[in-house]
Amino acid sequence: MSSIVQTKNLSRWYGQVTGVIDLTLEIGGGVTGLLGPNGAGKSTFLSMVTGQIQPTRGSLTVLGEDPWNNPKLMGRIGYSSEVDAFYEEMTGFDFLCILLRYSGLSRKVGRQSADAALELVGLSHARDRKIGGYSKGMRQRIKVAQALAHEPELVILDEPLNGMDPVARAETTRLVKYLGDVKRHVIVSSHVLYEVEAMTSQILLIHQGKVLAEGNIHDIRDLIDEHPHQVKIECARPRELAARLLAFEDIVSVSIDSPPEGDGNGKAPEEESLPLLTVTSRKPDEFYERVGKLVLETGIEVSRLSSADDNLQAVFKYLVR
């Protein structure tokens, strides 16, 4: 099969608001990055691909079939949504077992598969812990696990790296690359170009519901380097990390924001957010690699690392000029 996803004049409106407009494209095998700022139409497109919503106009086939109300096709797809919602009281293992049995696997095979998927995403140590007690990164990983566990032909990951710590990001990025290496088809969406670039060179740029460019990421690479990249790091000891980062030439600016004070409503100390370090770098590739190493070296606790959406907006503004 040459095309995994094929669309022709695909459009979707939400009343007066457009989700995607007149999308005609073909996504081939391997790993494809769906890149666009928040609100670009990535999730709308993926929701149509996974049969959750119907196109308003145009046609869409996934693995050669129409996905709308097509339960059989869903057995061939694994989907990790960007929504952070779970059966909180279930353990990670039970959650996977239930979804696997629900998908038609036997109890025995389901248990084996759940363990294999947990190992794949590095969550074996937390298999018997309740999902409600998982960190943001662990929750993302269990979502990825449930998308992979039934061995689907096509894996769809909607913003899988959101909220992951640097180590989990690196592991998940390697996992996606690995899936591509073993000839799985993966569509992974992100609003951070550097995340997608680390996973694949095959990208689809989407902005305001339209495809701006598709093909090899290196073609737009030069444009991106012109724009300093802003990264927000929620961490303990931000001054120490900032001091170490400032030693590098590519760092344009660093600022630290204290977390909002507790409201006195009994919020546990561990739930309170850490200070926010905002760093602007001219060499994002090197920066991401470096920050991971620094965190490991210094043992500074990082609860969240996110790229400001403005980075990609700037690139898109340039592209649509």
Partner: protein, 278 residues
């Protein structure tokens, strides 16, 4: 790299019956441990506490017939008119809506299971929970009442118990189907359901006019009245006892409402776009 992709068989998918069955199997334990179950059990304990208090405060005549009258009175008011619709509402209205509002529906609808199977399975869980609570409460109620009236176990005459159990269970099956459909189509289904239950099923069913035939409650009462000797409390409520349909007709009506309710739930799952509405 150290990773090995699992090599188990691909998901084979499930049809409506198999899908419903696996949903019950997987999600029933979760429902039984939920906060809704605790609330339902508290509600279902009320008639038992009531009859226990009456037994302690007042000397019930040592006569089984009076016990039967008390059973009839509390059974009609507490079990049929109050607990059956309201506990059904509690479980039914959340059957589908909790997956939508909790945004966990995505795990169910992006899997190879038919939408009819999901609707049927979710309703079955609500129905099983409701019926279990009602039946358990009725048994304990009967035991407590029996011990107060005769000083020993169940009442000698079990006929009222069977009739109430049948009427409440039939009502629970139909109500949960209706409220599941409501939860699948309407936001804040519990509030809307409360309004429907309180205005339609409680008020209209007691209006002294033929319009009471348009309620589910009416057909549950038919099972009670036609299932044995005419009961005192309902004699006064039902408008035209002569025109009352038979048990078969009542079951047919209730079955049809149940079927329509399930169909509406399945339609909602098939045609609504929950991820958009969220």
């Amino acid at each position: 790299m150290g990773w090995n992709l699992p090599t188990f068989p691909r998901a084979s998918g499930r049809g409506p019956i198999s899908g419903a069955w696996i949903i019950v199997l997987l999600f029933l334990p979760r429902a039984l441990r939920s906060g809704k179950m605790i609330l339902a059990l508290v509600l279902a304990a009320m008639p038992i506490l009531l009859v226990g208090s009456i037994g302690i405060l007042f000397d019930l005549p040592d006569h089984a017939r009076r016990g039967g009258e008390l059973f009839d009175f509390i059974g009609t008011l507490a079990y049929l008119q109050f607990l059956t619709p309201y506990i059904s509402l509690l479980f039914g209205s959340y059957a589908i809506s909790e997956e939508m509002e909790g945004r966990t529906a995505v795990f169910l609808i992006t899997r190879p299971v038919s939408k009819l199977g999901i609707a049927f399975g979710k309703w079955l869980i609500a129905a099983v929970c409701t019926v279990s609570v009602l039946f358990l409460s009725l048994v304990v109620f009967n035991l407590v009442l029996g011990s107060k009236v005769e000083g020993e176990g169940l009442l000698t005459d079990l006929a009222p118990f069977y009739r109430y159990a049948a009427a409440c269970c039939a009502g629970a099956l139909v109500y949960t189907a209706v409220f599941s459909a409501l939860g699948a189509w309407v936001r804040k289904a519990l509030l809307v359901g409360l309004l429907i239950t309180s205005v339609w099923e409680v008020v209209v069913a007691n209006v002294p006019a033929p319009v009471q035939g348009a309620t589910i409650m009416y057909y549950c009462r038919v099972i009670l009245v036609r299932g044995g000797d005419s009961l005192t409390v309902l004699d006064e409520v039902i408008v035209d006892l002569e025109a009352l349909p038979g048990v078969g007709s009542a079951l047919l009506v209730l079955g049809s409402v149940l079927f329509v309710g399930l169909l509406f739930t399945a339609f909602a799952l098939r045609f609504r776009e929950y991820s958009v509405e969220q």
